[in-house]
């Protein structure tokens, strides 16, 4: 019952949004940063939090709560940015940050413990998920970061807003 691409024991980083636990493959995570001031880029979708300075380069940040249409909360001491590398459509690599309520742990999953995501019932778009992991008797949603953070996905709403002057 394994999922495509997860054929051997793989490490994941989990993070929280409210009570829900999500996981991203640790190989894609570059670092986790504390919450800092974000520069909002005007006239972009709500889930585009803005940009931050990561040692001299400008990195876009995505508000995971807004992206998954969850209610907003105030930033706390646990709020953090998970900086990840994602593959873009052209096969190149881009760096994107995701804002989460908190990060929890790194753990290893056997391929046997990962199942294909159900088509309904996750309250998320099915193509955002790579699979469902079973860990300590709980289900963890493993995110398809390449899909969620693809430039196409992040721009999608904007076309109706800013580009109408074309």
């Amino acid at each position: 019952m394994s999922v495509e691409g997860i054929n051997e024991p793989t490490q994941f980083l989990t993070f929280h949004l409210g009570n829900e636990v999500f996981a991203v493959e640790i190989a894609r995570v570059r670092e986790v940063l504390e919450y800092t001031k974000v520069t909002k880029v005007p006239r972009t979708p709500d889930f585009m939090l803005g940009v931050i300075n990561l040692r001299g380069s400008v990195v876009p940040l995505v508000d995971m709560r807004a992206k998954f249409s969850m209610p907003q909360t105030k930033a706390t001491v646990n709020t953090c940015f998970i900086i990840m590398e994602v593959l873009n459509e052209e096969g190149g690599q881009t760096v994107v940050g995701a804002m989460a309520d908190s990060v929890r742990e790194v753990f290893e999953l056997q391929p046997d413990n990962v199942e294909k995501p159900p088509k309904i019932g996750t309250k998320l778009r099915a193509d955002y998920l790579r699979g469902m992991g079973k860990h300590e008797g709980k289900f963890i949603m493993i995110l398809d970061t390449d899909k969620i953070f693809s430039a196409h996905e992040l721009r999608s709403i904007q076309q109706g807003q800013g580009a109408d002057a074309d």
């Binding site: 520069t39 880029v41 005007p42 972009t44 940009v51 300075n53 001299g56 109408d164 002057a165």
Partner: protein, 705 residues
């Protein structure tokens, strides 16, 4: 080093040589007797041929050899430089280029075309009578047999290779073999006196030198050509021995023979010769001043030659542009860190720290300027390309056009120059096709039948102005406006100033041409110009007088990586406006707004200036202060204001890309990192104005409907 790297080095060099070749050919057309230019053309061909053969571009080498053969005749004045020769050589240059492109994975070169060019060139050779000669089966290495005119000469060729010549993979024996091939009689004498004792002998070093007595019909140039690739790796001395003056000098001949037989060394000979000179003075044959003069002359020539060799090896270093880009990125980061250091130092009240911060600031500034200057290239090479374009186009369109250039040594960032090529091609094509009239029309209007296109580049502050002027028929603002209304680009009652009307030519799908030619008229070109110049953060200005001509001025930033910016604040958000566009800052009070009946215009010294409120435009929450600031900028030749809460000041702005995710946020040309580590967005003023204009137009249309 892999083979691929080697090939790319060759193609890179070859492309450079080809553009040099083109420039030389066009110059040669103007002064066909210039031996220096002919030499330059020949050398370029020869190098392409030689290194082409070395890197396995046999087709290129063979073809180039044919062209070179003809130019060798021109060099030896066997044939004269004619327009046909230049036409054919230009065509040949294009052919070599397409061969190289083909090797790099482009479309295959047209072989028939190559054959045609070669036949045309051979027809130029004396005695050819139009019939193609036998090429001798790809003997690319052999210099042409037709080169000589008179009887054979005897040359003495001294070759003293540098000791490390083997390290470059050169085998001197092959060179000697080549020499033997070009002569009728050839005696080679090796000189061993450089050989060290056996225990000190390094087998990887070359200790031998040679003297060659060569009887040949070839010219001295043909002999030099054998050594063209090892020019800087050996001492080469060629002397014609059977000339009267050489034969007549008994003393020197005796010395020569001694050296040749290895009986005495050259130094000994020189020493022995000195007293001879003195003795000559004593016997009254020559005066001491004459000897001194002769010595001085010898020294001067020597010094000049040494200097030339030195200059040639020290003028330039070839570095891949990625390395430079990396350096620029690093300097950009350093500038950012330095800004932070300054900010920290100024809050710490620590005198020593402040001193250090100032020192670092000075050094960073110098480093930045130096790094930027490395990326600067003279625009001359680009200008030269256009000479060719003008030449070809004017022939095609049956117009007589002279192109003049000015400021070819003006330097611009490499990236800017690379991206400037296409827009300039479009502008020049436009000038030639639509601007300049045919000779008969020009004569009817009392103008010189020969049209003029003037291309110039000058520095102006932090920008470079590039102008394309023509003395053609000019633009008619009324006709332009009519056409735009006809096409629905403008409302029927539009009233435009001349300047605004001229800008219409940059609209997409706008063409004034009655018919579409393959040169222009599709209304694509000028639209491309505007977009490319936008991408370079430049601006365009058009001036024109009906019947007199048109001038298009491109204003471009010197560099793309770092700009001078004006830092402004709206609520808590910081933005950077390009300082080059900023003209002045004026205050905007609540009464001003009331006086203008809430319309977004302000009266600045009796001029009505529209403005854009950044707070409203970007939906920034919060109440505007009592007195706001308007930054008045020159956007596409129109004065436009941008309302902000406060102006903070000048800021060295290192431009960072926002990345693919913000590709649609066109109102920002990038972001920069401020001293405190936060990010500020850089506004693209011209895009912003265009968006607002388009949106207001939509609004007025929907109100009207």
């Amino acid at each position: 080093m892999s083979v691929e790297i080697d090939t790319s080095a060759f193609t890179e060099e070859a492309y450079e040589l080809l553009s040099e070749l083109e420039a030389s050919l066009l110059e040669l057309e103007e002064s066909p007797d210039d031996q220096d230019l002919i030499g330059r053309v020949f050398r370029a061909m020869h190098t392409i041929k030689g290194s082409g053969a070395m890197f396995g571009f046999d087709e290129v080498a063979e073809f180039t050899h044919e062209v070179e053969t003809i130019f060798d005749m021109a060099r030896n004045k066997t044939i004269s430089v004619s327009k046909t020769l230049i036409d054919l050589t230009l065509a040949a240059r294009d052919q070599i280029r397409s061969m190289l492109d083909a090797a790099a994975g482009g479309e295959p070169a047209d072989k028939n075309n190559a054959q045609k060019i070669i036949q045309g060139l051979r027809a130029l050779a004396p005695g050819a009578g139009g019939a193609p000669k036998d090429s001798g089966g790809g003997s690319a290495k052999k210099p042409p047999a037709q080169a000589s005119v008179d009887e054979p000469h005897v040359y003495r060729v001294r070759i003293k290779p540098n000791q490390d010549i083997f390290a470059n993979g050169t085998n001197p024996l092959l060179l000697l073999g080549e020499l033997r091939d070009i002569g009728e009689d050839c005696q080679i004498i090796a000189q061993y006196e450089g050989l060290p004792p056996l225990e000190k002998l390094d087998p990887e070093q070359c200790y031998t030198s040679w003297e060659v007595f060569l009887t040949t019909k070839q010219s001295e140039n043909a002999i030099r050509d054998v050594f063209i690739f090892v020019d800087d790796q050996c001492e080469l001395n060629i002397r014609l021995l059977d000339r009267e003056e050489v034969l007549g000098n008994d003393v020197q001949k005796l010395g020569n023979i001694l050296v040749q037989r290895g009986d005495i060394k050259e130094e000994v000979l020189e020493q022995a010769l000195k007293p001879i000179g003195d003795r000559l003075v004593e016997s009254g044959v020559v005066s001491s001043s004459q000897v001194k003069a002769a010595l001085a002359e010898q020294n001067a020539i020597k010094a000049k030659r040494d200097k030339k060799v030195q200059a040639e090896s020290a003028t330039s270093v070839r570095v891949p542009s990625e390395k430079l880009d990396g350096l620029v990125d690093l300097v950009g980061e350093l500038v950012t860190v330095q800004a932070r250091l300054n900010q920290t130092a100024s809050t710490r009240q620590d005198h020593d720290l402040q001193l250090i911060a100032e020192e670092v600031e000075r050094l960073t500034g110098e480093l930045r300027d130096n790094t930027m200057s490395i990326r600067m290239l003279a625009i001359g090479t680009t200008f030269n390309k256009f000479k060719r374009l003008v030449r070809d186009l004017s022939t095609e369109l049956g117009k007589q056009i002279e192109m003049t250039t000015e400021g070819a040594d003006t330097e611009l960032d490499k990236t800017v120059i690379d991206q400037l090529n296409d827009p300039l091609v479009h502008i020049i094509r436009n000038s030639i096709d639509h601007g300049i009239e045919t000779p008969d029309v020009r004569i009817a209007h009392g103008k010189n039948p020969q049209g003029l296109v003037h291309l110039s580049a000058i520095h102006s502050g932090a920008s470079v102005l590039i102008r394309v002027e023509d003395d053609g028929k000019g633009l008619d603002p009324n006709a332009l406006t009519r056409k735009a209304i006809e096409k629905g680009h403008l409302p029927p009652d539009a009233q435009l100033t001349d300047k605004e009307a001229f800008m219409l030519i940059f609209g997409a799908g706008f063409s004034m041409a009655e018919k579409i030619t393959n040169v222009s008229g599709r209304g694509v070109g000028m639209d491309v110009v505007r977009r490319s110049i936008d991408a370079l953060r430049g601006s365009i200005e058009v001036a024109s007088e009906l019947g007199k001509g048109t001038t298009i001025t491109l204003k471009l930033p010197l560099t793309l990586a770092i700009i001078e910016g004006l830092l402004v604040k709206v609520a808590d958000e910081l933005f950077v406006l390009p300082l080059a566009a900023v003209e002045e800052c004026v205050e905007l009070s609540r009464t001003d707004i009331a006086n203008a009946h809430n319309r977004h215009v302000i009266n600045v010294r009796d001029e009505i200036v529209p403005y854009i409120r950044i707070r409203d435009r970007f939906d920034i929450p919060g109440e505007a202060p009592e007195i706001e600031q308007i930054v008045i900028s020159d956007v596409d030749s129109k004065r436009t204001g941008f309302v902000v809460d406060s102006v903070i000041g000048q800021h060295q702005t290192v431009i960072k890309s926002l990345g693919k995710n913000f590709e649609h946020s066109e109102e920002f040309s990038g972001a920069t990192i401020l001293g405190d580590g936060t990010v500020a967005l850089i506004l693209d003023l011209s895009k912003m104005v265009r968006y607002v204009e388009a949106e207001e137009e939509d609004l007025s249309e929907s109100v009207a409907a």
